[in-house]
């Protein structure tokens, strides 16, 4: 039996799922196709426009195009490495098929090959989807020719294999070093810290300065910076060089040698490491957690208001305990904190001071800023609120057999998710309003709007999470990336957009009246803000009602 045969159950499962999907879910596939093509068109359009602009800039245009590709590829490499480390833990140590494979007479090398291939595919598909429109735009703008797709693939395939072999190796060592069963938790904290570090570092470097050459002492300094390879020892640099040399009609096989030989070397080294450490690591990962596990701080019996009815207070307490004791859940807060810092950092450096900046602009920017804040909130809700019903999948029997009303379950989940989201939303909007020194009217409007939007987003997340549950999943982190998660994000963005559009007119009318000293049209204000509030309240109560109905009909 060879490595491909070991993966047969995976192919067959994927095929069966696709067939089942094709039979009864045509609408779902159409939405997927539309969203996919729309996403590709968007990414392609943005990169195409940037490259068209660079192409017309003499001297530094091609350098900027190279730098852009380098930035994209180094981000991809970081993502791939992190993703492979996490995925390898599942594929090599926690997957359900491992008991069968470990007890069967399977050669270690075949197992390594099969699991490495599985890890590579599972970790890389998103990056591949992102890369296709980007590389296509480069090929079209710089006239890559018919051989270009092959060249791009020849550079990209080893670029995917290197982090897969490296990530699998790192996971293998970690599993052998850390206490059994804690590896997953430790890995999630490491991953979140690393991701947070990368985001923070990237933002603090302020890459937008590259687009402002006037900030450098001389043009020579700027060109020198652009010409200097950022990271000559990283595979991302080799892919960049290999592809760009081809686009400039310079035959240079060295980057391809480097990529393929490094990938081969990493796979061989990984195989040796696997042979030496896998059996011990796998055995360790199968041990259950020992007695004496420290239970983290959780709300005591008296810390919740006594006015909460017994069932509801037990539900809320349970939700909080599960969240704060699950490292894979709370560790995402690290990334969240960094996103907020970056968000406020961005607002802090908005060029809204000095001559030429009008009262109108200063007050309209924070209003439009609500769109961005709403998007951040929707992403957070997708991560924390959307999966909450799915996570009850294995314990559904208990809730369903008890006299618990589904309405109580959903409202408990709603409030546990909404209260922190609301504190966060009001906090960041208020903080940015203070930083931007906007008027009292705009502060009131933005805080009021974000409060109502938060309720709507939380309710929508809960509703879509109930209508599209992922009861069978073992990895909570994958739930938000499901079809239902996508539908939730699209709907949430639609609601945010509708609210902003409805409020735009009264806000503009009021600010114009203040700026130009004309009378304020109260009727227009009431109609605009009233309609926006109605949209938010409908988007709060209707989804909860739908979710209750759906949950009552759920059988498993």
């Amino acid at each position: 039996m060879h490595s491909f045969s070991l993966l047969t159950p995976k192919w067959l499962t994927a095929r069966a799922k696709a067939r089942r999907g094709a039979e009864g879910r045509t609408g779902r596939w159409i939405v997927f196709a539309v969203v996919g093509v729309g996403f590709w068109t968007l990414v392609f359009g943005i990169v195409y426009r940037i490259l068209s602009y660079f192409k017309n800039v003499p001297e530094i245009g091609p350098l900027l195009a190279g730098k852009l590709l380098g930035l994209v590829l180094i981000s991809f490499f970081g993502l791939l490495l992190l993703s492979n480390i996490i995925t390898a833990l599942s594929t090599f140590f926690l997957a359900r098929d491992l008991d069968l494979l470990a007890s069967a007479p399977v050669d270690w090398l075949e197992l390594y090959g099969a699991k490495l291939l599985e890890t590579t595919i599972n970790s890389s598909w998103m990056v591949i989807i992102m890369a296709i429109p980007i590389f296509t735009a480069y090929g079209i703008i710089y006239d890559g020719g018919w051989w270009y797709p092959l060249i791009a693939m020849a550079a990209f395939v080893p670029f995917l294999v290197i982090p897969a072999a490296l990530g699998s190796g790192i996971t293998l060592v970690l599993v052998n070093v850390f206490p059994a069963r804690r590896t997953r938790e430790i890995l999630s904290v490491i991953t979140m810290l690393a991701a947070a570090g990368v985001v923070l570092l990237f933002r603090l470097l302020r890459p937008e300065q590259l687009a402002r050459p006037e900030g450098f002492r001389s043009l020579i300094d700027f060109i020198t910076l652009l010409r200097t390879p950022a990271s000559p020892w990283l595979p991302s640099e080799w892919v960049q060089t290999g592809v760009l040399h081809w686009l400039r009609y310079e035959g240079d096989p060295l980057p391809f040698y480097l990529l393929w030989s490094t990938a081969a070397a990493f796979v061989v080294l990984g195989a040796f490491l696997h042979r030496a450490l896998y059996a011990k690591g796998f055995s360790k990962s199968q041990e259950s957690r020992s007695k004496g596990t420290q239970v983290g701080a959780t709300p005591s019996r008296r810390s919740l208001p006594s006015m909460l009815e017994i069932t509801r207070s037990e539900l809320v307490r349970k939700e909080l305990r599960l969240f704060f004791r699950d490292t894979t859940q709370w560790s995402q807060l690290i990334l969240l904190a960094v996103l907020i810092v970056v968000y406020i950092f961005n607002v802090r450096f908005l060029p809204l001071q000095g001559p030429g900046v009008s009262f109108l602009l200063v007050n309209i920017i924070p209003f439009l800023n609500l769109v961005l804040a709403g998007f951040v909130l929707a992403s957070i809700a997708a991560r924390f609120i959307f999966p909450s019903v799915s996570l009850e999948g294995r314990t559904w029997w208990l809730l369903r057999a008890s006299p618990l009303a589904m309405r109580d379950l959903l409202w408990a989940k709603f409030w546990v998710g909404t209260v922190p989201l609301l504190v966060l939303a009001v906090g960041i909007v208020f903080a940015t309003d203070i930083l931007l020194q906007v008027s009292v009217f705009m502060t009131t409007v933005s805080v009021g709007t974000i409060t109502l939007i938060t309720f709507a987003i939380a309710a929508l997340a809960l509703c879509f999470g109930t209508i599209f549950p992922q009861f069978e999943t073992e990895n909570a982190a994958q739930i938000p990336t499901s079809f239902g998660g996508l539908m939730f994000m699209m709907t949430a963005i639609g609601v945010i957009g509708a609210v902003i559009v409805l409020e735009a007119r009264p806000v503009y009318t009021y600010l114009s009246a203040i700026a130009f000293g004309t009378p304020v049209n109260t009727g227009e204000l009431v109609a605009g803000f009233g309609a926006a509030a109605a949209v938010c309240l409908t988007a709060t109560f209707a989804p909860i009602w739908m979710a209750v109905r759906r949950l009552e009909a759920t059988e498993r």
Partner: protein
């Protein structure tokens, strides 16, 4: 008391449970037997209020489960065959949570929970997270949770799976004593010896229909074999199975 009338469950064109009728009076321990895929778990999950019947009615202590689900479930405890529970709660927290679902808490519940944990040798694990429990320990915890709110009726799906001999013995005694105090227990099991010695009455389901029901004496009388429960069971559900196994091994 459990009363089931023309209970039916269909999944598309497949009928899992086909119009069954049964009554389990108060104080009775009722055994529900059948081969794999016969409809046992589906029936029990309908009685526990987890699955909704396609047709028919279920009454728990005289309360219609479909019309008044909350009131009916208030009187019910359920023990599933697979011990899936919240991994990040401790044993005592899980029992308190379950009691909370039945709107009960306070010192009485804590005392009751401690007694149940002690009964199953889990007391020193009461403050450990469930993720550190073995399969059998989880099963014991779930069994404890079904008793913590003192329900009138307990529905049990395969209670002996994963239990050590001592826990199995304790459970049998617990079931016996519980029914002697006027409560009702309906239990499915593949361990025919347990059913034979423990249950007041037994029903055998096959292909979604009840093929036989009564006390052991009544089942023996109705059976042509007139032997033990295993022979009665095999005669009703396919006695050629053992013969086929020998044929396969010899082939």
């Amino acid at each position: 008391m459990i009363e089931v009338r023309t209970l039916t469950k269909r999944y598309g064109s497949f009928t899992a449970v086909d119009g069954i009728d049964l009554t389990v009076p108060s104080g009775e321990l009722f055994g529900f037997l059948g081969p794999n895929g016969a409809g046992k778990t589906t029936t029990l999950r309908m009685i526990a209020g987890i699955l909704r019947p396609t047709a028919g009615t279920i009454r728990i202590s005289g309360i219609d489960l479909t019309a008044e689900p909350v009131a009916a479930k208030d009187r019910l405890g359920f023990i599933p065959d697979r011990p899936f529970i919240y991994e990040k709660l401790t044993g005592i927290e899980f029992l308190r949570f379950v009691a909370g679902l039945y709107r009960q808490r306070g010192p009485q519940i804590d005392r009751r929970a401690d007694e149940l944990l002690s009964l199953f040798d889990l007391h020193e694990w009461r403050n450990e997270l469930v993720e550190s429990y073995s399969h059998g320990m989880r099963q014991k915890l779930i069994i404890s949770s079904a008793f913590v709110h003192r329900p009138d009726v307990i529905v049990v799906d395969e209670p002996m799976v994963g239990l050590d001999p001592k826990a199995a013995r304790i459970l049998k005694e617990l079931f016996r004593e519980y029914t002697l105090r006027g409560h009702t227990i309906m239990m499915s099991t593949h361990t025919l010896e347990v059913a034979e010695t423990l249950c007041d009455r037994i029903a055998i389901i096959h292909g979604g229909k009840i093929r036989a029901m009564g006390t052991m004496a009544e089942l023996r009388a109705a059976s042509e074999t007139g032997a033990g429960l295993e022979d009665i069971f095999l005669s009703l559900t396919g006695e050629t199975a053992a013969r086929r196994a020998i044929d396969v091994l010899d082939a």
